[in-house]
Symmetry: C2
């Protein structure tokens, strides 16, 4: 079993942090998205979609999409549970993961992929060959900041985002917010509950993954 | 417990089909997205995000995001399993659900929400108040058609999309493809494996949900 990964890339990091929280160590193969290694024939022979992260199982089959890879490991090693235990907590965690993806991850990727020359004709991950759309970059930052305000209000009453304990929602948000910071979208200083949560997350050893 | 729903809308339909497959009957409250009822104060008091579908639990709390609501019911009534049973099948189903959402659902919504006057300043679901971006509509159809080719090749060797049995991936694809047809994106006639799969899905009683 091996993970096709890119150190520094935000979606692969979701898997790396998840594995660190589960104390699972697997082989990782680095693929450089910035220089387009994910779109070259060697990698497309492994994953024709050209996306990362990709998990290759021992039977040779592959699973891509960060959330799908994480759910594989949630089953293989249930402790500690990161996708919830009760029906309600499982649903609430999934809902938050989706909101963080839609309202923070996606608009941040929109900013990066529709402005950075490295992503010319790659504004959507993988082999889509899509032109950059500057309007997406313009609205991306506003969307992220609007979500940060909402998340800050939510965190005023909660130690973790979606549950009484650390969950996949916290991982998704940590990776999304660090990604946004890399892209130039800072957390406004007045959002102190969000800043406090970030500081707590940064102390976890998995944050280094 | 009640489901805030809109008959005819594709994401609420994912939940309705899921409930039909599980043989679960719950109260449904209709909210009209087209005329903006989801953005009026009565509904925002229930779900401040202004999105559908929303599940309100008996304790008054809410869960939104179609996939999160479906996962709630997968836990409450595990049979028949629609998100898989083994670690691998759970991961593969989640991966396909994500691919169908990203490569069919999202670009179809891009076409509708960036062209239809009813969605002026609502190009993103909910309270975002975002202007339409015509370039998203232009590329949306191409993206959906590219995905259809890939899905057709995949279905040449598979009765169902992600598993040996019917799963949440089939529900997601059925709702996405019917939605695309409504928006004016037809399945090309040469994609016969995809057409055959669609015909099989349409025979399931849940398809009427």
């Amino acid at each position: 079993m091996k993970l096709f990964d890119m150190a520094g890339a935000p979606n692969p990091r979701r898997v790396r942090v998840f594995l660190a929280e589960k104390d699972i160590d697997i082989e990782k193969v680095q693929i450089d998205i910035m220089n387009g290694e994910n779109l070259k024939s060697d990698y497309l022979a492994i994953n024709p979609r050209g996306v990362l992260p990709t998990l290759q199982l021992d039977d040779g089959s592959i699973v891509d999409e960060a959330s799908a890879i994480c759910r594989y490991f949630e089953e293989v090693k249930p402790e500690p549970p990161l996708y919830g235990e009760s029906a309600k907590s499982k649903a609430v965690i999934e809902s938050w993961v989706r909101q963080i993806e839609g309202d923070a991850f996606t608009p941040t990727a929109d900013v990066l992929r529709n402005t950075n020359p490295a992503f010319e004709n790659r504004s959507i991950p993988g082999t889509n060959n899509t032109a950059q759309v500057p309007a997406l970059a313009e609205r991306g930052t506003d969307r992220v900041l609007a979500f940060y305000k909402r998340l800050d209000r939510h965190l005023a009453g909660s130690k973790y985002i979606a549950s009484d304990s650390f969950s996949a929602a916290d991982i998704t948000a940590m990776c999304a917010i660090d990604f946004a910071e890399f892209v130039g979208i800072a957390v406004p200083s007045e959002l102190t509950s969000l800043a406090d949560w970030r500081a707590r997350m940064a102390l976890r050893p998995s944050a280094q993954a």
